[in-house]
């Protein structure tokens, strides 16, 4: 299929394309199983290569316009990145924390607390830095048609932005969340590159506030409903809640079973269903956020569009959570694959970039990039 260069004509501007994903559970499973085995045998060291194998597989199964993506990273890069961060950041800061703890234990509380708080502030700042460095590393290791991605600007700047915006969220009790999410995305996307082409995002957070407050409203309503329900049930079953304290003190455990277990079970159930309701409430905002951020992102006049209903997205999220929960985190690669498939199923690319004018990136590849992210257990 010949490709139009200089795709400026109206027809190609409306062309729709889709990602196609061929990854299969049956193919990923042996990769993951070997990963788990070798990670245990090496007391965790193999995890860097394990991550790499999964990424290489997933990227290679994703295609656009019949051509695959490619992941060019290596496990060694991840490992060395971690070593560097370990010796230059973790050890010194960890040492300071230890020292601060020691000071507190030996009653030099003022100094000890100051040291510990400062270290936590530094960690907090480094968290944002870690996110950006990881993005840059992964962008630079992603290629399509041999052209690599990139992420410009200093990760320290992003770290600072992240730091300030998170504080903003805290002091506004979370109300600033849509603004923060939009601003961070804007910063990241406008610095994102593929070859010499630029990604672009100009939207403000306007459209997010409706869904956000709808979510909050729903969550508050759920909370109130649960309080009422709790009071009602507690009242109704008054007898079952009493524990005979005196009997316990005598060492008489015969009555122990029902009362305490019932309370425990009810509390757990309450917590579980409440969390599910909060999740469902905020799904409204989450799906709106996904649509908002994606649909206003562009790459060289190519538009993106996510088409997914709130219910579908909710189901998708819940299944992901269940998978992670019941596999104790071991099945994370399968959740990664679900995400890739999600984008293949729901993302439309509208228009075609002018490939003739997009060349290989001149950005330097960072040599490492995920040391901090690994240390903070991000991604």
């Amino acid at each position: 299929m010949p490709e139009n260069s200089g795709g400026a004509d109206a027809q190609s501007r409306d062309e729709k394309h889709y990602l196609s994903f061929e990854g299969r559970f049956g193919e990923l499973l042996p990769i993951v199983l070997l990963n788990i085995l070798l990670t245990i045998v090496t007391l965790g060291i193999f995890r860097f290569w394990a991550k790499n194998r999964v990424r290489r597989y997933l990227w290679s199964k994703l295609r656009l316009l019949d051509e695959p993506f490619e992941y060019l990273g290596t496990g060694m890069e991840l490992f060395l990145g971690f070593l560097i961060v370990f010796f230059l950041v973790l050890l010194p800061l960890g040492g300071l924390l230890f020292y601060g703890q020691y000071l507190i234990q030996t009653l030099r509380i003022g100094t000890g607390l100051t040291i510990m708080l400062s270290v936590y502030m530094i960690f907090f700042f480094l968290y944002g830095v870690a996110i950006y460095r990881m993005r840059r590393y992964q962008m630079s290791r992603t290629s399509w048609r041999g052209i690599r991605g990139g992420q410009t600007q200093s990760s320290l700047k992003y770290g600072g932005l992240f730091f300030i915006l998170t504080i903003l969220r805290v002091i506004t009790f979370g109300i600033a969340t849509p603004y923060v999410a939009n601003k961070l995305w804007k910063w990241e996307v406008n610095n994102k590159r593929f070859g010499t082409g630029k990604f672009d995002y100009q939207e403000d957070s306007g459209g997010l506030w409706g869904p956000f407050f709808a979510s909050i409203g729903l969550a508050v309503a759920a909370y109130i409903a649960f309080i009422i329900l709790y009071i009602f049930v507690a009242d109704l079953t008054e007898g079952a809640w009493t524990i005979d304290m005196e009997a316990l003190q005598r060492g008489d455990f015969s009555d122990f079973g029902l009362g305490v277990y019932a309370i425990f079970a009810f509390y757990l159930l309450f917590l579980l269903t409440f969390n599910i309701f909060v999740l469902i409430s905020f799904n409204i905002y989450q799906v709106a956020l996904l649509r908002h951020l994606t649909n206003h992102t562009q790459y060289e006049n190519m538009l993106f569009e996510i088409n997914v209903s709130a219910w579908k997205y909710l189901g998708f999220t819940i299944v992901n959570i269940l998978i992670i929960f019941f596999s104790l985190g071991l099945a994370d690669p399968f959740v990664q694959m679900r995400w890739v498939r999600f984008y293949a199923d729901h993302l439309t690319l509208i228009g075609v970039p002018d490939f003739e004018h997009i060349s290989q990136t001149v950005l330097e590849k960072p040599r490492f990039g995920e040391g901090l992210a690994d240390a903070f257990d991000i991604g």
């Binding site: 299929m1 010949p2 490709e3 260069s5 196609s20 061929e22 193919e27 042996p30 990769i31 070997l34 990963n35 070798l38 990670t39 245990i40 045998v41 090496t42 007391l43 965790g44 060291i45 193999f46 995890r47 290569w49 790499n52 194998r53 999964v54 990424r55 290489r56 597989y57 997933l58 990227w59 290679s60 199964k61 295609r63 019949d66 051509e67 695959p68 490619e70 992941y71 496990g75 370990f86 973790l90 050890l91 960890g94 230890f98 020691y102 234990q105 030996t106 009653l107 290629s143 048609r145 041999g146 052209i147 070859g195 082409g197 490939f355 003739e356 997009i358 060349s359 290989q360 240390a375």
Partner: protein, 369 residues
Amino acid sequence: MRSEVQPGYYSDGASAIRHNVRVIFKNEMIEIQTESGRHIDVWFYRDLELVSNSRQGGLVTMKTLATEGARLTLTGDNIAETLQYFAPAVLKKEPGRSIRKPLVITAVTVAIMGLLILVYPVLTRFAANLVPTSWEREYGRDTVAFWEQHWPVCTNKKGIAALEKMSDRLVAQEQFPYRPNIQVLNFGMVNAFAAPGGEVVLFRGLIEKAGSAEEVAGILAHELGHVTHRHPIKGAIDAIGLSIFLQSFGGDVGGFAAQITALSNSRKNESEADETAIRILKSAHISPSGLKDFFDSISKDADSTISGFPTLLSSHPKTEDRAEMVRRSLEQSAITTAILTEAEWQDLKAICPQSDQDEVTESEENPIE
């Protein structure tokens, strides 16, 4: 049925545009030409690497090690057979699915880890020796001071005198890097511990529980065993080392291994302290049976609450085993003399003030630290 000419897409890695090309399969290489036959490039089979094999779409994308960025996607109908004939090795290495490289990485890692494990005890001993004695003493004093805040030192003069008589006789039997400082704290727990720098702490509960002065002497000798081997500071360095290297290096798996190792080292230390205790007691002509009696009495208590605590997760060897080890040493007993007179023993029992005692709490395991 294989073809020697295949259609495909080609991008050169310098620009994102792709070209429709003809790929001619020759003996050692493929030649890439434009649709009109103009030569673009030549790729040798030995340099080819698979980027992606789309079995569904019948597309195979490759690159060459000789040129960075260039990509070739073969779109023909029978491309699999063609490749199988001309360059079978290419299709075998699918991204993320190799097994050889992971196994090599694992082997090398395990070998290096094995080496580090061998070297580790030497390193911790070296690190422990680097710590100046004054630091150790200060650390030990700080540790005890922390406990003293809640549970003050017992200061009854006669009790202290009895304690000193007992400890002097034991301390004289052994070489210590620093002079041990033994104190009793007013806490009902049945326990004792040694902190770095020679600080030994016995709790009031232990002295109350003991049936004779020989039992207390046995425990004191055990703690002195920790002091002479410098277990407390070594244990601290060990814990730091394990938590740094295994835990933060190795993520979750490493953390778990760190816990198990720390507990194993702790058990080794306890056994070593037990052996040293027996040696100290014997050379002081005190019967080690007191120590055994004490183990017997706490193992009886443990049976009535939680028993069968898995040894692997315990910081101390099984109390029954410790009692057995002491019992075996009794066979060779020589002449022994009492460590304290009956009056002195009563004085020791009264070392702590009787009035402001806290709740007597007995831990289920009653380990002697």
